[in-house]
Amino acid sequence: MAEATLRVFRGDSNGGQTVDYRVPVAPGMVVLDALHYIQGHLAPDLAVRWNCKAGKCGSCSAEVNGRPRLTCKTRVDDLPQDQPITVLPMRSFPRIKDLVTDVSWNYRVNRKIPPFEPRKGVEWKISQLDVDRVQEFRKCIECFLCQDVCHVLREHDKKEQFAGPRFFVRIAGLEMHPLDGLNRAGLLKDQLGLGYCNITKCCTEVCPEEIRITDNAIIPLKERVIDEFYDPLTMLFRKLHGQQRSH
């Protein structure tokens, strides 16, 4: 049987190094299968976070040959066979052990976002067209690969000022919900740092759900913020009539 070498990071918050493991390759095998083989036969304490192994839960994120990916959807036979496959933890988050990182910051950011609030007296009729547009954002499986690759977080570590692509996707889903009555533009501008994004589209490239994060979520949100805060006509209208804002 063919074999592959996996070069896996072993270590914790104090540091570590990569270790090579030889793994037999079965047809259609994914990187997560190979990691499970290592756990079951070579290194029982290898820390890997995973759940469904079907691309639906977004738990098994790592950097495979330098690219942020879900290990359950990365086929071994799609990678070069003549060199070791490197598997490293996501770099934007603090390491806990081996491939497991501390992603709790994401959950703290999420708490800042006011949830769906229907407009008063709304009739619960929605057209499929409106649903389709929003469902793109609601496909997000929270794998945090977009957060991992985003240079505002990865290179500049602006975690206090910047929410990251994942949460712009969530807010886009709320703001474009046909029955939602809140306005989160102020929050985006002042607390979630939407302005830091300079639309390099790295997030879109790594999204396993193929959400067009930059084009369909971030840019429309940026337009909303501009309309809301920098458009003279809107500012005048608001002065005259008043408008509900979440922040």
């Binding site: 820390a47 691309g55 929605i126």
Partner: protein, 571 residues
């Protein structure tokens, strides 16, 4: 005393953060209780996320003739009349409200032309009844509940595993747990506890279930003295992936058949004509799973030992819109384009109908203060669950469990946690670090999966089941000696050594119950007793812990009131 653990206190402690746990938490919180939710994974990763096809609720948006009575009748017939009739009634009556509620919390379902929630056909349902979001309904549901719960103020203990319930004079008093990340211990004090830990599929080799599905909640309840019921009824979903090997068992949603997918054998025959000519591919899951199994067994299977499931006669755009994750799953993992050709599918261990015995109205188990909801609880689905009834189950009985647990907590006085129980739990948990020898928890798990797969699968016999009991005893002995290396810092081998105990308990309960039920009914098929037996239609198997070990007994099926009998008799 300097404790080895931190302590947290809540009125209501919920174990499990899938649909049932989160719905229970939201309800208990609404009642004014302080609520803690403990989950083995990160929040939002629970198995509910994998539910695909939809939520069954008789809303009559597509088929105007639908109503709760028909849903009740379909559920009872699907469950071969072993269901708790009161649960089936409540479920059918309350599901539409629970779905509307989700929508009001922000869930976005697919729509009809009129702008209402769209409903699709599914096996065993008379009418188009499943509210859905393409083929990722579970994700929509869990995200909605998660955001709602967090915003309302639940405390979530992520990546934390409960290993023992603490009791005081027969009632629950708390729970002992460890943080997966650090390996440190945590003790919860709680007036009531809701178990919402899901199923047991990881005891089988071919399964659609995630690693979390190790039967923890059922084992915790069992150890605390609660009764388990209907444990022989394990659902094998007819359509899991069969190729390549690494993806074997991954679910192929019933929505493929709901949207018109056809099953064929190697010779190209639509074989369901032989097994259920009336309902064909949309027969109940037990029937379709056995039909595929039989086709393969008799030599008419596909190249990799399955059946063909084909939806490629539908327009490619339609398939991609209604079944997007199936499209991607096959394209990426199996190199198959389902808009152009058939999928290969075969049965996969999917769902546990049996579980913790609960009261229909309150979801309370036979242990005071201990509640259970969702897959961990039993009763609603009887001998076979209809697709779509699990998500509605989570909402209806999750809410009821949360409500009743909060009420119980309001009346209950705080119970002390017993330091002897805590010390014992601690000792048991760390034992694998001091076990000498080379027994690997991974090896024990692999062997357990083979035993359950080969001896306690779709078709069962007395000989196989008796052999399984012997094997399980050996596995128990091996598991007790399993040793782990490394530290307590995020150590999966150690985590598995603990999960193994739960898997072994539920596996034994399934096997003992299956051996006792000398008939074939729903998901339980005995080759040596191929027919239904009128005597067993009136009996449940009950499993309870006793001094000498696991005890099995029987209890009578509850008599149904006359007006419900009339609903069942109608056509």
């Amino acid at each position: 005393m300097t404790a080895n653990y931190e302590t947290r206190e809540h009125d209501v402690l919920i174990i499990g953060a899938g649909g049932a746990g989160l719905r229970a938490a939201i309800e208990a919180l609404a009642q004014g209780a302080s609520v803690g939710v403990v989950c083995k994974s990160l929040l939002g990763k629970a198995h509910t996320v994998m539910a695909e096809g939809g939520i069954a609720a008789a809303m009559a948006n597509v088929d105007a003739a639908d109503n709760w009575k028909t849903h009740f009748r379909d559920t009872m017939r699907g469950g071969k009349f072993l269901n708790d009739w009161r649960m089936a009634q409540l479920h059918a009556q309350e599901s539409p409200d629970r779905v509307h509620e989700l929508e009001q919390w922000g869930a976005l379902f697919d729509r009809t032309e009129n702008g209402d929630i769209l409903q699709r056909a599914f096996g065993g349902h008379t009418f188009k009844r499943l509210c859905h979001v393409g083929d990722r309904t579970g994700l929509e549901m869990i995200r909605t509940l998660q955001d709602r719960g967090v915003q309302q103020g639940i405390d979530v203990y992520m990546e934390c595993t409960v290993t023992r319930l603490l009791t005081d004079d027969g009632r629950v008093a708390g729970a002992f747990a460890y943080w997966r990340e650090t390996g440190r211990f945590i003790v919860f004090k709680a007036k009531s506890i809701v178990i919402a830990t899901g199923g047991i599929g990881k005891a089988w080799r071919v399964t659609s279930n995630s690693w979390e599905y190790t039967g923890d909640g059922m084992a915790l309840a069992y150890e605390a003295g609660a009764e388990l019921i209907d444990m022989e009824f394990v659902q094998f979903h007819p359509t899991g992936m069969v190729w390549p090997p690494g993806v074997q068992g991954i679910l192929v949603t019933e929505a493929v058949r709901g949207e018109g997918g056809m099953l064929r054998n190697r010779a190209g025959e639509r074989f369901m004509e032989k097994y259920d000519p009336k309902r064909m591919e949309l027969s109940t899951r037990d029937v379709v799973a056995r039909s595929i199994y039989t086709e393969v067994k008799e030599g008419r299977g596909t190249e990799h030992g399955g059946a063909y499931l084909d939806i490629s006669h539908k327009p490619a755009e339609y398939v991609k819109r209604k079944l997007p994750s199936m499209y991607h799953q096959f394209k990426e993992l199996a190199d198959v384009d389902i808009t152009k050709g058939p999928m290969e599918v075969g049965p996969t261990c999917h769902y546990m109908m049996g579980g913790i015995r609960v009261d229909a109205e309150t979801a309370q188990s036979t242990v005071p203060g201990l509640f259970a909801a969702g897959e961990a609880a039993a009763g609603l689905h009887g001998a076979n669950r209809l697709g779509g009834n699990s998500l509605s189950d989570l909402l209806v009985f999750g809410r009821r469990a949360g409500l009743a647990a909060a009420e119980y907590a309001r009346r209950a006085s705080p119970a002390p946690n017993d330091s002897a129980q805590i010390a014992e739990a601690e000792k048991e948990l760390v034992a694998p670090f001091s076990n000498a020898g080379t027994e690997s928890p991974y090896a024990v798990h692999r062997d357990l999966q083979e035993v359950m797969q080969n001896l306690v699968g779709i078709y069962r016999t007395k000989d196989d089941l008796e052999r399984a009991l012997v094997e399980l005893e050996k596995l128990n002995a091996r598991a007790a000696k399993a040793s782990v290396e490394g530290s307590r810092l995020f150590n999966p081998g150690w985590h598995l050594s603990n999960d193994l105990k739960a898997m072994l308990i539920v596996s034994e309960a399934v096997t003992r119950s299956a051996l006792a039920r000398t008939e074939s009914r729903g998901a339980h098929s005995r080759i040596d007793y191929p027919n239904v037996d009128a005597i067993w239609e009136k009996k449940h198997n009950i499993i309870v812990r006793q001094a000498g070990g696991m005890n099995r007994s029987e209890s009578r099926v509850q008599e149904m009131p006359e007006e419900l009998k009339q609903i069942l008799a109608a056509d």
